[in-house]
Amino acid sequence: MRRFFLAALLSLPLPAAAFCGFFVSGAGESLYANATMVVMMREGTRTILSMQNNYQGPPQDFAMVIPVPVVLQKENVRTLPKEVFGHVDTLAAPRLVEYWEGDPCLQPRYDMEMAARGGAMPVPMSAPAKRSAEYGVTVEAQFSVGEYDIVILSAKDSGGLEGWLKAEKYNIPAGSGDVLRPYVQAGTRFFVAKVDVERVKFEGDRALLSPLRFHYDSDRFKLPVRLGLLNSQGVQDLIVHILAPGARYEVANYRNVSIPTNLRADDSVRSDFGAYYEDIFRESIWGHPDTVVTEYSWDSSSCDPCPTPPLTASDLLTLGADVLPGQPTGGMVLTRLHYRYTKETLGEDLIFRKAEGLMGGTGIPDQEGKLSSEPQKNGNWNMFQGRYVMLNPWTGPIACENPVRGRWGGPPSGGDSRPISAPNKILNSGAVPAMAPPTRSRTGNPAFPDTRGTQTGSTIPEAASGSTIPEVSGSNTGGNSPTSSGSSNMAGSGSGSTIPEVGEGSNNMAGNAGDPPPKSESARCDSAGGLSGLAMLMGLFGLRRRKC
């Protein structure tokens, strides 16, 4: 069966002052230490999985272990240019946009220009994520790809892989054998990628490890994540981009919500959009640690506003269309899913399902500055993005008898500044993600500036003013065909979607919800204990606690 797929990063153990794996940030550098970013392309049974490697230790210490359902061949594996990940991330990340109110006395020409320019001309701004036999194993294949040396192993006993890795001088966490056992039972193979330092490119002292891409066929579309939990240290973010023909995806076995969008931001957000967005994100998942947040679903060949050009045919080919039948170079929907997890909250593979199209985070403010914040499901039509809007009311003279207010568009200078693409503060600030509640309640919450001050009753809806996070189809599965004999009584369908006030719901949080902020880097190194030296790419080591 091709059920189990997972990945882990391991690093060679170092003496004494052991490198603390994943969580080290260079001096003054921003670092999204705990985020894992993947791009998956899917058509039919084929899955192409690309992983952004954010390992930043000595390259010679790096290795990645990926259990795979089949014996991958050299032609299944390649490296990618790092830029393509940045491109996808920038395109799909939440963005801050800015509108300027037009001269109330200058009317028709402006509208025509706007229409000719495709309607809205916001100035958005987005948050790109920073981006052998004696051990009971058989080498099924061995080849080199880019700077990596790839070995495909099959294990002949549960401890075989563990033994092999130890023999190869990798540190692996205690208890790995228990976690590996189900994989070995399932006949899983293990893909091990090691770095050949001779083939690594450096930027200064820093090794630039290429993203890895590989593909395989499976009836099931899932992202196994268990193995990575073995050395999971605190809160981690997983950002999954899915490219698939004509369809948005969500996670079948987790709660799905769409990120509140079209929220109004004040000017202070400009300088700290990351913090602003982080608060929105935290509030979206607060009380529901099993929540996967849809941040984007849009045809990959377009965007509005565009923090970066949409994906090109070349990008799609790079990300996997080259191994799809017909090599499609268009018609792909890009979905961005964001999951924040801890060892306690993530226990199950992410199993994806196709979902109805979603629209939201679009449009231009109306005359009163209002924007719809309610996402709409819309057949196969996908135009959804996490968009946050700053309005710049007209401040110039109004020298006409019948001024018309509320015509919003681009900057008066006619410039075309781009959106700030998703400055998730975690991504850029080096802050560590947390399962903690939003920094403030909705009242007086800097994430929702329109809820305070004079703009109350603002024409742009307050953030989550209905106090309901829009669920993206939730867990309801029992829709009826016209001839269905009855409605489904599926359990767990979409209940509990209300955002609790700060402090609410903490009893419902599993594990780290409400935990104090993460400790310092050194503290986390300490907490890693015996795990030090092992870094996980996706946090995909799953550790299931046995009942007995």
Binding site: Q73, D157, Q185, A252, P325, S487
Partner: protein, 660 residues
């Protein structure tokens, strides 16, 4: 709820491992003989006919009687194997097609048309002398060569002795059938790795027909049936057979319509047609410009079609008609080439399909569109823009052999060797089978629906809505994971069998709690048994709650002990839960039913290692049967070289219907 029945057991006395038998004096056939084998004795059909004329005459038209070198399809293919792989490799075939040649050592030599017993097939005494049969396959029987005591009229003792000799225990056991209707290929036939072959007994044992109700919650009660129930129905003795007034039919009717036609026996033709026409239903739906055709195996106790499935040629013909009945467009109109065929396709070393059943070229399974017992399959036809209203006609059409095999065999018929075998058959008073005879094309089932106008449907589309919706949802369980969501709108919540499909889909999606709630709903409605527990095991296993999965899987094996899949899942769940002794116990039990099941061989070996028991033989067995390691590469090569390969490999195939 299932109690947690699997503890983290302390290591205990290990079950004795079960290693597949793949050796013997006639290997790669696993046939054995007790005593001295005399092919002349075993070729004596005339003696049987004296008292059993009905049985013999029926048998003479059967595939058993025509299994040998007189059969042009077999001859062409086995000759090719013998030429390419050597005579010894053909023992693999001989055990079940040519037992008289094999057991007298003559499969190891050239076989010329004049060879005695080269046309004999599987004679009366072969089946009636089997003293032992196992489920190993590849002819895993033992023949008793002791003299046959012929009875004296009126002498009850002699009759009893006759019966005792000729009707030993295996005769009425499915194991006798299993010994030849299960097979495996491997290095002995030219494939680098062991490949599974036909497996009618395993599929039957896992079905409700065998009383095993773990596969699904059946929508209706089914009688228990075994091989003989379908393939040897009781028929009237018309020629004074001593077994009379009725006897089990010795026509062994199955799906070999071409052979029946070549034999020229109308009764055999009728028996085969009756058998195949009761096999399946076809239904058609139209939504949003897509015609979905659902095929359900309702009557076959194993996969449909069965036998050597790579040679079969059953396909869906979709015709789109205007309201006057004129053809607008369609697929599969002439043959299966552009449509959806119920067959398997095996890939060769270069990734291309091996379409001529040259087993030495087999490397890995490309796709399998055959349907398990009581299961359903579906194919989606994307329709072009059509003037409404219009009519959709879906037909399941069957030929015995794929076109390529027909052409190969017909060409071989013109060779001197074939002509000589034909001449020999004439000399022996046997029927000469013509491999060039046009094969019968049978319509096995159909469905007709009108789109855009309210006119009652016909055929399979005219059945009750609940039944149709159940079939549709059943077929949809084969959708790729991300489309499983589509099932839920086809579920009828007042129909337990349908609700069980919902629970299965939820389990597959990793939605444990929801699946368990639906199962609880099912239990409250009175549904129970291994099918329900199996869904629970699946749901727990999907989220790695192995102890609970093992507990549920244990319940499945208690309710369906003949289902090797249930043991496989139990062995894996226990192994994953850290219960090697329990895993070993389950694996050993399951391997008794399916000796070459890779998953159970693996569980067995892993368990022995963990228990510290000697494991070398078990590990070797696991590795020997792990199958091709390059199958992914072969499939990718197929995708790159063969138009439509990727599409055909999908779990649910979608085909584009050309515009009118």
């Amino acid at each position: 709820m299932v109690a947690l029945g699997v503890a983290c057991a302390q290591p205990q006395a290990a079950s004795k491992p079960r290693i597949p038998e793949d050796a013997g004096p006639f290997f790669p056939s696993l046939a054995r003989v007790e005593g001295d084998f005399d092919p002349v004795v075993f070729d004596d059909v005339a003696s049987c006919q004296e008292c059993h004329p009905d049985a013999v005459h029926q048998w003479q038209s059967s595939a058993h009687a025509n299994a040998s070198f007189g059969n042009p399809w077999y001859r062409t293919l086995v000759d090719d194997l013998r030429e390419k792989q050597g005579f010894t490799a053909s023992r693999h075939c001989g055990g079940c097609h040519d037992p008289l040649l094999l057991l007298s050592g003559r499969m190891d030599k050239a076989i010329e048309p004049g060879e005695s017993q080269a046309l004999s097939g599987v004679t009366c005494l072969v089946c009636h002398s089997v003293s032992k049969a196992t489920v190993n396959g590849n002819g895993s029987y033992v023949l008793d060569t002791s003299p046959v005591p012929y009875p004296e009229v009126g002498d009850e003792d002699s009759i009893a002795a006759h019966r005792a000799r000729l009707a030993m225990e295996p005769l009425r056991s499915p194991a006798l059938c299993a010994s030849c209707h299960r097979g495996f290929l491997g290095p002995h036939t030219g494939s680098p790795e062991v490949l599974g072959g036909i497996d009618e007994p395993g599929q039957w044992r896992a079905s409700a027909w065998a009383g095993s109700h773990a596969a699904r919650l059946e929508p209706e009660e089914l009688p228990r049936r075994e091989c003989r129930s379908c393939h040897m129905p009781e028929v009237e003795a018309k020629e004074g057979d001593e077994a009379g007034p009725t006897l089990p039919s010795h026509r062994f009717a199955g799906g070999h319509s071409a052979l029946a036609a070549a034999v020229g026996d109308p009764l055999q033709v009728a028996a085969v047609e009756a058998m195949t026409r009761s096999a399946a239903t076809v239904d058609v739906w139209e939504e949003d410009g897509i015609a979905t055709v659902v095929i359900r195996n309702i009557g076959v106790g194993h996969r449909f079609p069965g036998g050597a499935r790579d040679m079969k040629n059953l396909w869906i013909q979709l015709r789109v008609l205007d309201v006057r009945g004129r053809l607008l467009t369609g697929l599969g109109l002439e043959d299966s080439a552009d449509s959806y065929a119920l067959q398997t396709v095996v890939l060769a070393e270069d990734g291309r399909p091996e379409l001529l059943h040259r087993v030495q070229n087999f490397r890995t399974l490309g796709w399998d569109h055959t349907i398990a017992a009581r299961d359903a399959g579906m194919v989606e036809f994307v329709l072009p823009p059509l003037p409404s209203p219009y009519i959709l006609v879906a037909r399941l059409v069957a030929e015995r052999h794929r076109t390529e095999v027909q052409a190969l065999v017909c060409a071989a018929m013109k060779e001197p060797r074939s002509l000589a075998f034909g001449e020999q058959a004439r000399k022996e008073g046997r029927r000469v089978l013509d491999g060039c005879l046009e094969e019968p094309v049978l319509e096995l089932a159909s469905a007709i629906m009108w789109v855009g106008v309210d006119i009652p449907a016909k055929g399979g589309a005219a059945r009750g809505l609940r039944e149709r919706r159940y079939d549709r949802a059943l077929a949809m369980l084969h959708l790729p994971g991300e489309r499983l969501e589509e099932i839920y709108s086809w579920v009828d919540n007042d129909f337990p069998a349908s609700v069980a499909l919902k629970a299965t889909a939820l389990a597959n999606q990793g939605r444990l709690e929801e699946s368990l709630q639906v199962l609880e709903q099912l239990r409250r409605s009175g549904a129970s048994g291994p099918a329900v527990e199996r869904i629970a095991a699946l749901a727990y296993g999907q989220v790695w709650r192995w102890p609970e999965a093992a507990a549920a899987a244990t319940a499945v094996t208690l309710g369906a002990p003949g289902d090797s899949g249930a043991w496989r899942e139990l062995a894996r769940a226990r192994g994953s839960a850290g219960d090697p002794a329990g895993s070993l116990e389950a694996a050993v039990a399951g391997l008794a039913l399916a000796p070459r099941d890779l998953s159970m061989l693996r569980s067995q070996a892993l368990a022995l290692q963990q228990l510290g028991e000697p494991a070398d033989a078990a590990v070797q067995a696991w590795l020997r049967y792990q199958g091709p390691q390059d199958d992914e590469a072969l499939k990718l090569a197929c995708d790159q070289q063969v138009k439509g390969c990727f599409d055909q490999r999908q779990p649910v195939v979608r085909l584009i219907v050309p515009p009118p």
